[in-house]
């Protein structure tokens, strides 16, 4: 065994175990990220507060409201007596949508006439608005179809109304369209990327900041032993984090892990070369832990936005999609989502794995070439 390497790894673990900041970063942050992004940043639209101005109060109006109530997109939060009240609720953001039922609603329907209701929507959050809009339209259409069938039946046409075309939908991999299925693999990618690069950069810069590097330089430890010895503990931590997030993702959010765990960890290890390399690179540039943190973040932020972490790659402008090919995180996110949700084998992802490996070798190589066992 290489005593120099072993001693530096042992020292690093002792230091990690005594540093509350690193421990929090390693143990708590991933879980926090997972819950924050699993819940708060979710794009699922449920329970949009709805204000209702019902001027009719008849049986048909009640049926309409029941239909709104049944779809869990809306919460019938306010029952108002004037349009002005409704407007004020929406102005103040208390209600995000309003429904106005005219006074003659029930009567017009029973007499076989056509009628209309007004649906008002706060468009300031387009995601919420778009979902609420299509939900309201669907509720309306489905109710209208029912009413039409009822009328035809009453006229003796006892046939069930049959639409000439039906689109039968099947959603694969994520049948309930749970946002968590998208976010949890993303969080794994982000943690492997952000946490390890920040931790390795600060771990190395800390030696410089505290002056301990000067003592270390004078020992006969080789550069590669110093680098490997400093990085290896964080590889172990990162892989433990991956397992932590996988377990919580599966157990709490019900995100399936359909792929092979060994394959997931193996690909994650390949991806780690990039993030460790970025951390090492930042450590060769920065003189203080703060500088290191900052330079890592400057590299991280574009990655998060341009690699399909927050926004799907397909939804980005073409130019940004091209740029995304320069982000190692992009490949990893594609891989980890496929592995977890689709349970594919290595064959289906080999192109992305090769790209990831090339990035890892290039970044690590550049960082190692810059790393000097010297003060200047």
């Amino acid at each position: 065994m290489n005593t120099r390497l072993v001693s530096i790894i042992r020292k690093e673990f002792i230091q990690i175990s005594r540093d509350p900041r690193t421990l929090i970063l390693v143990l708590i942050i991933p879980v926090m990220q997972l819950f924050l992004l699993g819940y708060a940043a979710t794009n699922d639209v449920r329970n949009v507060p709805l204000a209702v101005f019902d001027q009719d109060r008849g049986a048909s109006a009640r049926a309409l409201l029941d239909a709104f109530r049944a779809a869990d997109y809306f919460r019938l939060a306010y029952d108002v007596d004037s349009e002005a009240d409704l407007r004020e609720l929406i102005d103040r953001g208390l209600a995000r949508a309003g429904l106005i039922i005219p006074a003659a609603y029930s009567q017009q329907l029973t007499s076989g006439e056509s009628t209309s209701v007004a649906f008002i929507l706060d468009g300031s959050d387009p995601t919420v608005a778009a979902t609420a809009l299509s939900a309201a339209q669907l509720i309306g259409q489905s109710l209208a179809t029912d009413l039409m069938t009822e009328r035809l039946e009453r006229r003796g046409a006892s046939l069930r109304l049959q639409l000439p075309l039906e689109v039968r939908t099947q959603v694969w991999y994520n049948p309930d369209l749970e946002q968590a299925y998208f976010m949890v693999p993303g969080v794994i990618g982000m943690i492997l990327f952000a946490l390890t690069s920040i931790l390795t950069a600060t771990a190395i810069v800390r030696e410089r900041e505290r002056g301990t590097i000067e003592q270390l330089i004078v020992t006969p430890i080789r550069s590669w032993e110093l680098v490997v010895g400093k990085l290896l503990p964080y590889v172990v931590l990162a892989l433990l984090n991956t397992i932590e997030v996988l377990v919580i993702g599966a157990w709490w959010f019900g995100v399936p892990v359909r792929g092979n765990i060994g394959l997931i960890l193996g690909v994650s290890a390949i991806f780690l070369m990039s993030s460790l390399g970025i951390g090492l690179l930042a450590s060769t540039i920065a003189n203080t832990q703060q500088e290191a943190m900052l330079s890592v973040w400057m590299l991280l932020l574009p990655s998060l936005f341009l690699s399909g972490f927050f926004f799907p790659l397909e939804a980005m402008p073409l130019v940004l999609q091209w740029i995304s090919y320069a982000m190692p995180l992009r490949y990893y996110l594609v891989i980890i989502r496929s592995l977890m949700l689709k349970g594919v084998g290595l064959q289906a992802i080999q192109g992305d794995v090769i790209a990831l490996a090339l990035f890892g070798v290039a970044i690590m190589g550049a960082a190692a070439a810059r790393f000097r066992k010297r003060l200047d």
């Binding site: 120099r4 042992r10 020292k11 590097i213 003592q215």
Partner: protein, 312 residues
């Protein structure tokens, strides 16, 4: 005997700052070479060049027979170094620091444990094994630093202001330790701002603005100023200084605590003229006599010689 440290014509610049400008020095086994000089003279930079922590812009360094740059790691196997700034791990205990630096230098098992125990006793830190290094006093930190620097029994020891910020009693202890290390045949380079410590060295190099201005045994250095220093104790001080400085044989007058050291071209003239001149100016003279020069006198006169031409 061969030199354990042999540095020739070292140069090192940081941008436009010429930190080291043509330093050469050799140190043999059992020798303590003292680097003295004001802050910013280039002592730390010189030491860092000698241990390979910085790369020289110019010049050659051999340490323990190995050429730095080509055989750096082999050379480092023989080097023990105590940096000016505390550079052990504050979050590790005394024992863990020693074990770490021992094992990183290839010691292990009973050999490492034995050596660590011996050193802890040697520097007087036994009983403090479990104390975290950042909770040690300044003097104890330096002793732990010395122990870590000695863990692999190096032939060459470099100490950069090891007694900086340490109380006088601990400074004394520290030098007793150094004397024992020297007796084992180790070559030591030590930088210090204290003249009493400088006087204990085998040889001294006085550094100023990146150069070694003079080099020699403390006795040789003071001998060069023999018969050129007067001690004057007198009141009132301002008048005493003014009258003394006006004497044609006086080069300068420096305050040393509550007295003056007067540097003169020769002692006979001023000793004859000054008592009368001072009395005439109403100065009450307690003492005026020729004294053997201290190292401080030597270095201050050297500095004066350096700065005077620049001012003229």
């Amino acid at each position: 005997m061969n030199a354990l440290i042999d540095a020739q014509n070292l140069h090192k610049a940081f941008g436009s700052v010429q930190a080291v400008r043509g330093v050469s020095l050799t140190v043999r086994a059992g020798e303590a070479y003292g680097l003295v000089g004001p802050d910013g003279a280039g002592k730390t930079t010189t030491m860092r060049l000698l241990v390979g922590a910085l790369r020289a812009d110019q010049g050659q360094i051999q340490v323990g027979g190995f050429t730095l740059g080509r055989e750096t790691e082999q050379a480092r196997a023989h080097i023990g170094y105590l940096a000016q700034r505390f550079s052990l791990y504050g979050d590790l205990s005394v024992a863990e620091n020693l074990t770490f630096f021992g094992s990183i230098r290839g010691l292990r098992g009973p050999a490492l444990a034995g050596r660590a125990a011996t050193l802890l006793k040697f520097v007087g830190l036994h009983g403090f094994e479990a104390r975290r290094a950042d909770q040690l006093s300044g003097g104890m930190k330096q002793k732990l630093g010395l122990a870590c620097a000695l863990i692999h029994e190096p032939k060459i020891l470099l100490l950069d202001e090891p007694t900086g910020g340490v109380d006088p009693v601990t400074r004394q202890d520290f030098w007793q330790l150094l004397i024992r290390v020297l007796a084992e045949g180790t070559a030591v380079i030590v930088s210090t701002p204290y003249m009493d410590e400088a006087a204990r060295c085998t040889r001294l190099g006085f550094m100023y603005q990146g150069r070694v201005l003079v080099e020699g045994a403390p006795r040789e250095l003071t001998a060069s100023m023999q018969g050129r220093v007067l001690e004057l104790a007198a009141h009132p001080k301002d008048a005493a200084r003014a009258v003394t400085a006006a004497d044609p044989a006086v080069e300068d007058v420096l305050t040393f605590g509550d007295r003056f050291h007067v540097r003169v071209r020769e002692t006979a003239g001023p000793l004859a003229r000054l008592p009368a001149a001072l009395a005439q100016a109403g100065v009450n003279v307690e003492r005026l006599r020729a004294i053997p020069p201290s190292l401080e006198d030597v270095f201050i006169s050297l500095l004066a010689a350096q700065t005077t031409p620049a001012q003229a």
